[in-house]
């Protein structure tokens, strides 16, 4: 759901840029407090993987495709602030190098797929793990639900921005975006679950950053 240039009005562009800039600068502070040197390659690999997996559009119904977002995977493994930084780097690279997502819409894309997707998935995941217990099953179910929710909520944020910008009334664009992304979210949940179970099987000790507190 990379928004191209031309869809958003000036107010929405300015607001989302301001909120995203504030969020990213706070994320730098938070990550600086928590990230240890041994986490550096994990952040790099996650960014590379999210970029690569986002290229693989999978078909859903009616001649539409969806692709992996990755914010949930990053947020569950490294916490929402590190995930926001990872998503911001991926989105900037996509916009500057690959012309995917507009330059003026970059603030909105970072807001939707960085801030909204990372935090919604992180807290949904935490909630499920709290309810089901911190088992392997709880983690994977939480990962699926968190990932599905991140796509769904990010699509709603995107629909609101489009409606506020006046391209389409909210009653039209909101159900359309939410409906199609409720399906894409299933793919997100499955890929996130598969990636998490791989990490759990191979290197469960990497699942650390969110527990790192002073």
């Amino acid at each position: 759901m990379h928004i191209p240039d031309g869809f958003l009005n000036v107010t929405t562009i300015a607001t989302t840029y301001a909120v995203s800039a504030g969020g990213v600068s706070y994320a730098v502070k938070e990550v600086n407090r928590r990230l240890k040197e041994k986490h550096v390659p994990l952040m790099g690999v996650l960014a590379a993987f999210i970029f690569a997996a986002q290229m693989l559009n999978f078909p859903i119904v009616g001649g539409t495709s969806g692709h992996f977002l990755g914010a949930a995977l990053a947020a569950i493994l490294m916490g929402p602030w590190a995930a926001l930084l990872i998503m911001t780097c991926v989105l900037i690279a996509q916009s500057l190098l690959f012309q995917d997502g507009g330059l003026l819409a970059l603030g909105a894309n970072i807001f939707n797929m960085g801030i909204v997707a990372s935090f919604s998935s992180y807290y949904l995941y935490r909630l499920v793990v709290l309810l089901t217990g911190d088992s392997r099953r709880g983690k994977l179910v939480g990962g699926f639900i968190g990932a599905w929710g991140s796509v769904f909520v990010a699509a709603i944020a995107c629909a609101i921005e489009l409606a506020v910008s006046g391209v389409s009334p909210l009653v039209v664009v909101l159900p359309a975006m939410a409906g199609i992304h409720a399906l894409i979210g299933i793919g997100e949940g499955l890929i996130t679950g598969a990636a998490l179970s791989l990490v759990l099987a191979a290197r469960a000790d990497l699942w650390q950053l969110q527990q790192v507190r002073e």
């Binding site: 990379h2 550096v40 539409t64």
Partner: protein, 98 residues
């Protein structure tokens, strides 16, 4: 001295494998594009003012599958390098000798 493969190197190999499969990706419009088409506002979108590797196809290569794979590999290298660099710069230095 034996060289033991590290977990993040395995992670990068997985990324490169994904890039090899990237030409198989569905070319149907994604969720937002589809909504923009069906609700009649896709025409508002305009092209980027410059194009580098637009639409994940490396320019000047006739074979589109190869051009897509190359775009994927470039993106993987750029993101791994840039994000590791940023993470290394802003990592916590607590507990390290000054």
């Amino acid at each position: 001295m034996t060289w033991k493969i590290k977990w993040w190197q395995i992670g990068l190999i997985i990324c490169l494998l994904v890039a090899v499969f990237s030409p198989l990706a569905s070319s149907s419009p994604d969720g937002l594009e589809k909504v923009a088409e069906s609700k009649g506002f896709i025409g508002l979108a305009y092209e980027a003012p410059f194009q580098i590797i637009a639409d994940y196809v490396f320019p000047g290569i006739e074979n589109e599958a190869v051009a897509t794979m190359l775009a994927g590999v470039i993106g993987i290298i750029v993101l791994f390098g840039v994000v590791c660099g940023i993470a290394w710069l802003i990592r916590s230095r607590k507990g390290e000798p000054a």
